[in-house]
Symmetry: C2
């Protein structure tokens, strides 16, 4: 039977999800999961407890409960349910209190704070990525932290957005288009920012699939065109000694963190 | 002295960061942190161990080491350093193995997988949010999961992007502009999708600050104009019974998860 999993928090529950998902992804099983954020009142906590207990009654199995609940009166109610608690916050807070010689202050808990200057920097980075996507303008390239370049649909846009959202990096991106391929060179504005350039490439067969789902039976999506573009662009990366990675088998998270790692850019946290 | 913190992983280290950041944000201290992803070889693990030990020698304090390392031969090297290990993966994997009656398969660990159909859905959602940002087109509103509406610079764009990136939700957004304010009404295409509408509002003083940093001393940024727009738009939300939230003191994570919670939309995980 598919185990039932609850992700519960008095906040967004994003941390509880990331934590539980990372732990459960080690098991070769499917899970039936439900996320319950903002459990901030006794009434809502009691309702969640009932939901956990009902699951136990219906399935005969104790559900797994991953939680990051800061308020102790809420946590105690969840603890008193029939669920099996995996409480990563408190598991680590107590040893850390001893190690640091400082008491934790749960009320100040705010994983994603917006009450600081770095938050504005994050929003600025997101706006920058939006405004400098897909080569729609080249006039802010001097202000970019990094400029992703590659063929159309190789992963530049999601990677730029993730870099800005997760890490506060000002990422622009520039596509090499079909018309440029026969005589491929870097525009002057990119040459001037050559130390910021980072190339993305992709397996031509995968590119062909992605493009087909957007523009079926077009020259743009043809395998022949995809092969040509990828070959020419990779030659340019090598000739110009631009670092690049292959996005074919990588998630947005992996692409973004590898870019930062190779480019030596600092990750910011929010 | 500011405690030194290492976030280490043989993957992206995003999980290690989220986990450590959530735990440490409970403490009223500043931390000096460094993230080291992709520790995939013995050589790199030994170099990281040296870095941890050097920090101990320099500061006289054992650094805190948060890690989510799947490969045991890599983990053993980090364990043998002078750092204090906070290993959330293994702390929970062993009790879960007993509970589930199934052995963990660390080699299959892949928190952010792209080898599945849901990953394409995520990229589609990101592209959708990009293409339907800021009312640039209204022709895909019928395909949206949710449509965020509000005045310019109240948080629509970052929220739409986060909804798509983190949860795979197709979020469009539509701004009420200065010119519409005197005779505020919903365009027909939005009326038809009224069940998808979700309002964002913001404190006019904060809005004024944000707009000033973009267009100083403009009518658009004036406190008077901000007050007028927010008032009119909130009246529309009430009249049309559109659910809405105030973004003033909330992070993108909080705004996005509250929208899903209120709208009853399912969160997808990647």
């Amino acid at each position: 039977m598919t185990p039932k999993v609850f992700y519960i928090s008095d906040g967004t529950a994003i941390t509880a999800e990331v934590f539980g998902h990372a732990v459960l992804s080690q098991f070769p099983l499917k899970f039936d999961s439900v996320t319950i954020p903002f459990v901030e009142t006794i009434a809502r906590a009691e309702a969640v407890k009932k939901q956990i207990n009902d699951s136990f009654i219906t399935t005969g199995q104790r559900p797994l409960v991953f939680h990051s609940i800061v308020k102790s009166e809420i946590r105690d109610i969840i603890y008193s349910s029939e669920g099996l608690d995996y409480d990563f916050l408190n598991t680590f807070v107590t040893p850390l209190e001893q190690q640091l010689g400082v008491q934790a202050l749960p009320t100040m808990h705010r994983t994603h704070s917006m009450l600081n200057a770095s938050y504005d920097a994050r929003i600025d980075a997101i706006n920058f990525a939006m405004e400098n996507d897909d080569g729609q303008t080249l006039k802010h390239m001097d202000k970019a932290d990094i400029i992703l370049i590659g063929v159309s649909r190789c992963g530049k846009t999601p990677s730029s957005l993730y870099l800005s959202m997760q890490f506060g990096i000002k990422a622009a991106n520039y596509p090499f288009i079909q018309e440029d391929i026969d005589n491929l060179k870097l525009p002057d504005i990119l040459k001037r920012n050559k130390h910021k350039l980072f190339g993305l490439t992709i397996d031509p067969v995968r590119l062909h699939e992605i493009r087909e789902s957007r523009l079926e039976n077009s020259r743009y999506a043809s395998l022949r065109q995809c092969r040509l573009e990828v070959k020419e662009v990779e030659m340019l990366f090598k000739k110009e000694r631009i670092p690049y990675i292959d996005t074919t088998h990588q998630s947005v998270e992996e692409i973004a963190t590898k870019i930062l790692d190779v480019a030596g850019l600092e990750r910011h946290m929010f």
